[in-house]
Symmetry: C2
Subunit: 374 residues, 2 copies
């Protein structure tokens, strides 16, 4: 039977994640993988989760297993509001911050509407924007020929570049947004993972009336919980709330109580300290290894935090074409061109430094340098 005629027009614009396709082909444990955006499993507070889940089932009983409010359980909204200095009504819990991207796009963009983004940018955001058939344009060179719905940015330790917007860049963006009258979707999953340098104010703090700020538990707790949040103006959150009713009614309840207890009790901050120390050492090691092994003509970013850095190889090297050879040699990365709106920059690649054991990094980078050298 043929199914093509049954599909909606959106389906024609769906994009398969090349990262997830890589993971289908190969067992991550058998190679040196700099490909995914996986946190180091050593940062997962398994003992805390064991203790807190028992505690929460004791404290809330059946309530932890029943349906709950679409906005999220009050206890979790409360601790997030407190931590980030906002009112509870400005907090919507999402079932992952990927859902945050999806629901913002759904509520704001029609097919053909302009969404601005830096280029390169997060693949999962591009997937979402494309799936809604938005007109994705690059922030840096947009000519303002059509009105803009929103601009999507990851100001801190960007995925994939690892770069952080300066205060001046943030203020310039806010001025632009006010001048041309559009909104900001600020994706902020890595913000609390800073290893050096000084924190800059969030875009949400600079333009609260125009910003939907997406937070995530994936990098500061554990991605398996699929919990995130949106901070924003109540007028926007209200439509997101109604949309979320038909998306999944409410986020998972037991998981929310666990996250609330983890964040509210101080366990998150204790764990974060350890994660930051671990990742800082990994970043420093990665930078030293690139310095040691990469051939001349290869350059890379120097992130102050997050999980990624971005390599630029000499013009003419094609990291998409190189990929199968690298995989056969036993090392994985994500080709940089996947993160560019127009698929350009085929001489770039994203490297993740959070996932691989520090002890295996050197062999992996040496292998990668050899593949590039050839």
């Amino acid at each position: 039977m043929k199914y093509d005629k049954f599909f909606s027009e959106d389906v024609g614009s769906f994009m398969r994640s090349p990262v997830r396709e890589i993971f289908k082909k190969v067992d991550l444990a058998s190679i040196y993988s700099f490909a995914g955006g996986y946190p180091d499993a050593a940062t997962f507070p398994i003992d805390d989760v064991r203790r807190i889940s028992a505690q929460v089932l004791e404290k809330y009983g059946a309530k932890a297993l029943q349906y709950g409010a679409t906005q999220g359980v009050p206890e979790l909204r409360q601790v997030i509001a407190q931590r980030y200095g906002v009112a509870v009504e400005n907090v919507q819990i999402t079932t992952s911050s990927q859902q945050g991207i999806d629901v913002c796009t759904r509520v704001l963009a029609d097919p053909g509407d302009v969404i601005l983004t830096t280029s390169p940018t997060y693949l999962g955001a591009l997937q979402s924007f494309k799936s809604y058939r938005a007109d994705i344009r690059t922030l840096e060179d947009y000519g303002w020929e059509k009105p803009v719905k929103f601009c999507y940015v990851i100001p801190d330790f960007q995925n994939p570049s690892g770069e952080t917007m300066s205060l001046a860049e943030r203020e310039a963006l806010v001025a632009l947004v006010r001048e041309h009258d559009f909104l900001i979707v600020e994706d902020s999953p890595y913000r609390e993972l800073r290893y050096s340098g000084e924190p800059q104010p969030t875009l949400y703090s600079l333009a609260p009336e125009r910003t939907l700020h997406l937070g995530s538990f994936s990098k500061v707790f554990a991605p398996g919980f699929r919990l995130g949040w949106i901070l924003g103006p109540v007028e926007l959150l209200d439509q997101i709330y109604v949309c979320k009713q038909s998306l999944d009614l409410c986020p998972p309840i037991l998981d929310q109580y666990i996250a609330a207890e983890f964040m509210g009790s101080g366990a998150l901050d204790a764990n974060l300290q350890k994660s930051i120390a671990l990742y800082r050492a990994k970043r420093d090691k990665m930078l030293a290894l690139l310095e040691k092994y990469m051939p001349a003509g290869v350059s890379w970013t120097h992130p102050e935090g997050g999980l990624f850095l971005f390599l630029t190889l000499p013009e003419g090297v094609d990291t998409v074409a190189l990929y199968d050879r690298a995989l056969s040699a036993g090392v994985a990365y994500v080709a940089g061109s996947f993160f560019f709106v127009d698929g350009s920059h085929r001489n770039t690649m994203r490297l993740n430094f959070s996932f691989l054991d520090a002890s295996r990094m050197e062999a992996g980078i040496r292998l990668l340098a050899e593949v590039i050298q050839e």
Copy 2:
């Protein structure tokens, strides 16, 4: 600041759940509520959850907290495949069966596309179809003037009517679907909650090549986990899989391992036996109380399972208008007209018999009968 101009066209078709609005107004515990579709908290296997979560964290360790496959963890797909006699490749895990409805609609329907449904039908499905601006038509009286994308049905213990499709009705629907060449979305959250009568084959078993069958853990385990599944042809599941990447990457991992262990170990079946006994008694009590207290001219359905029955009052009684009076008196229901595609049948109401303690049912039904009598 005005936000209206930023919203997508879909937003204009969003529908607020009147059920969820009721819950905002009033504390459920303070009244006799026949309104929601909440399971009885006494059916939640809290001890099993406590035991199994510790066990699963021990067994899978960090894997239970890491990202996982978009299709769901293999262990959960496996036990579902086994229980329902399908291949693992025909199982997609969803983050709630509401997400199942949403993703099916997203992948199949463009604005203006025809979706057929029985009328009345599940409110959350109507919300989803409306949010995509589909052309929602009634199965019983459709004139076939436009091609149909799919037909949405709840064959077993329907929400809100409580009614079950006979084998002849199922076969007739399958014949119709094949004749007019469209698909079926079979929503099946209550199927395992049968209190009397004989099970009928699923539509999925009668027309596997044309059916997306939605299952849910909410009524046989606990709704707080927000886990469901879709059984269907791989060609359809493949696009649903790609769509789900941009919706939320993957379902919650720890919750999936807990559900897999609960279902695979036999704990689900043991718990289901107890739930069925409890709900059968509640249904029987509810039917007896309606018989005892309802004034002449009121009739109701006699469900063989599920959580709901449906009342029809004399012509001219308006249950929407009656609602505030009922609430003031201390009893809640959902007006039946909300479940009709055209908002008709204002003399009907849905009553839930699963949530309220059996000991409080009599006072609630007596109160409701008095409000109707007036």
